[in-house]
Amino acid sequence: MRRLSTFNIVSLTLGFAFLYIPMVILVVYSFNESKLVTVWAGFSTKWYGELLQNEAMIDAAWVTVKVAFFSSTIATVLGTMAAYVIVRRGRFFGRTLFSGMIYAPLVMPEVITGLSLLLLFIAIGLDRGVLTIVLAHTTFSMCYVSVVVSSRLVSFDDSLEEAALDLGASPFEAFRLVTLPIIAPAVISGWLLAFTLSLDDLVIASFAAGPSATTLPIKIFSSVRLGVSPEINALSTIIIAIVTVGVLTASIVSKRQITQRLKEEAQAD
């Protein structure tokens, strides 16, 4: 380990302070006794209790989790399939166009994605609710999954699949028994990424959500417009905790994946 110079320590501290001071303040005030957000009146967990009583909030939370689960699962299946075809099936007609189109939503402004989805739902007469939010989230998180999975597939040794075919496995069995278990860590981190993206999303969800279902970010955003309440602070603290756990899991999984890959590469030598 190298020792850090004073300059490095200062820049590191400043950087992290910049990133985390707002969140720390939010977490601290969620335990504030007072109703006034800016005045400290002693420690209390009463806002967490009140949050649990707030049914609209709980409903929104439940919708958010459901949407995140289904959209990330569908996005993982579709994204993995797309990555597989683009990376592994060699050159086919329209491959460049197809792969370009998969990644386009990554750089597309969310407002445009949301608006176009809204127009589509209206055009085909789909009532806005949980289903439309799931569809909308699947659409944009699928490309993230396919980026993560295809970066793993690029370094996947073709001869493993050939060996499976050679031993009598059908192409689907070869995928299920050999390719999928090997790329599983990438697929899992793709799923986690899609899941967190869906949890966070406000812009696209507000286009796709209707009166029958709102997600937590929409709910929070609209209640904050009426004034910040300590209840929202408590909720945000819970969300921060969940996201932290999610990010940690994802990074552990992908770290394992890297170690695993290094091992495989060492084996190939």
Binding site: L165, D166, Q260, Q267
Partner: protein
């Protein structure tokens, strides 16, 4: 060597009625504008142990991959057991291949790797287990059955790959450098195992090897390849004793090559090689005409070395010892002829005294019989 039961010599390629297992018919394979396999035709017969030999990049793996079904020929046709392979996918071919890179499944244990192919045939569990155990014993890896591929050594991995490809007892087994990473002893044991398996199961083997000694030991026939073409396809003895070209002679074993031109053609051929010297006499190894430039090829072990002039032999040359190498069972002498060429000669060390006969700078005579050398087109 592949045996066919009785004392008959196994040589189906000489039998007009024999039906080949593999028929490779004018195959060409191009990658872009690079031709990896150039119009190759070849018949391989059931129960052969067929070796492919050639320098790196000459197309051995590519030829194997076409047999296994991973590459489609750009031109030509491959028939296995009478069936045109053009539309048969790899998983439907009764062919197993051992990959040059082993291609072991990293997420499966040694045991599961070997069982993989057996399970695809939906054999029952006990049968699979018995077969896997048998294979593990064969490659001496029983105690490593539960390990993952990255937890064993390179040579052990190679043996797992071998066991995996053998497990299904396929009709045709393609081995791409199966024994490269093994030490000499294990290598020889495995060679004999392979020959044993071959005799027991009647499997046809096509084996790629860089080791010509291995090709000589195990193969019923050897194909020497160069730049995507077959240079010569023959039994090991013929390849060694009667190479059809300088390329083959030079590729297989040690050989002395002396340049010259054809002086006379009779029962053998005479090669004029130096001003004022008697011609060298050898067998005619290729169609040649008088006056054409040619090369005289003679194996080092066919040359005798002596201090007195061997007047009973017509092929004799005089030179000075440049270098002596002692290899345990034999000694090699590099003798420089005043005409230019350096000739290598190998003498067995039957007694201790024999190898002390000569030392550096000694003037010696080299000689060989009229039929020991070959005159080949350049």
């Amino acid at each position: 060597m592949a045996a066919s039961g009785n004392n008959e010599v196994f040589a189906p390629w000489k039998d007009r009625d024999a039906v080949p297992l593999i028929r490779i018919d004018q195959i060409t394979k191009r990658f872009g504008d690079f031709t990896a396999i150039d119009n190759v035709s070849l018949d391989i017969y059931p129960q052969e142990f067929f070796a492919l030999l050639g320098p790196s990049g000459c197309g051995k793996t590519t030829l194997m991959r076409m047999l296994a079904g991973f590459e489609t020929p750009s031109e030509g046709r491959i028939t296995i057991d009478g069936v045109d392979m053009a539309s048969v996918p790899p998983n439907k071919r009764a062919v197993n291949m051992m990959f040059q890179s082993y291609a072991l499944f990293p997420h499966l244990s040694v045991w599961d790797n070997i069982a993989f192919g057996l399970r695809r045939d939906s054999q029952d569990k006990d049968q699979v287990a018995a077969r896997v155990e048998e294979m593990l014993k064969l490659v001496q890896l029983s105690q490593f059955a539960r390990r993952k591929p990255h937890q064993i050594s390179g040579g052990q991995r190679q043996r797992v790959a071998l066991a995996r490809s053998l497990a299904k007892a396929p009709k045709l087994l393609l081995l791409d450098e199966p024994l490269g990473a093994l030490d000499k002893k294990l290598r020889q044991e495995t060679q004999f195992e392979l020959m044993d398996i071959q005799e027991k199961t009647g499997t046809t083997f096509v084996i790629v090897t860089h080791d010509q000694e291995e090709a000589m030991t195990v193969a019923s026939r050897v194909a020497v390849m160069n730049n995507g073409q077959l240079v010569q396809v023959e039994t090991p003895e013929v390849i060694y004793e009667q190479p059809s070209s300088v390329y083959v002679a030079d590729f297989i074993g040690d050989v002395n090559l002396i340049e010259g031109s054809v002086a006379a053609l009779g029962e053998g051929a005479e090669l004029a090689w130096a001003e004022g010297r008697a011609s060298l006499i050898g067998q005619l190894g290729a169609a040649l005409s008088k006056g054409q430039s040619a090369t005289f090829a003679i194996r080092p072990e066919k040359i005798a070395i002596s201090s007195d002039e061997p007047l009973d032999r017509r092929n004799r040359v005089r030179g000075k010892i440049l270098d002596i190498g002692y290899l345990g069972n034999l000694s090699t002498y590099h003798v420089e002829l005043p005409e230019g060429p350096v000739v290598k000669c190998e003498v067995g060390n039957r007694s201790r005294i024999e190898r002390r006969d000569f030392t550096w700078e000694d003037e010696v005579w080299l000689s060989w019989s009229d039929t020991a050398g070959l005159v080949l087109a350049r």
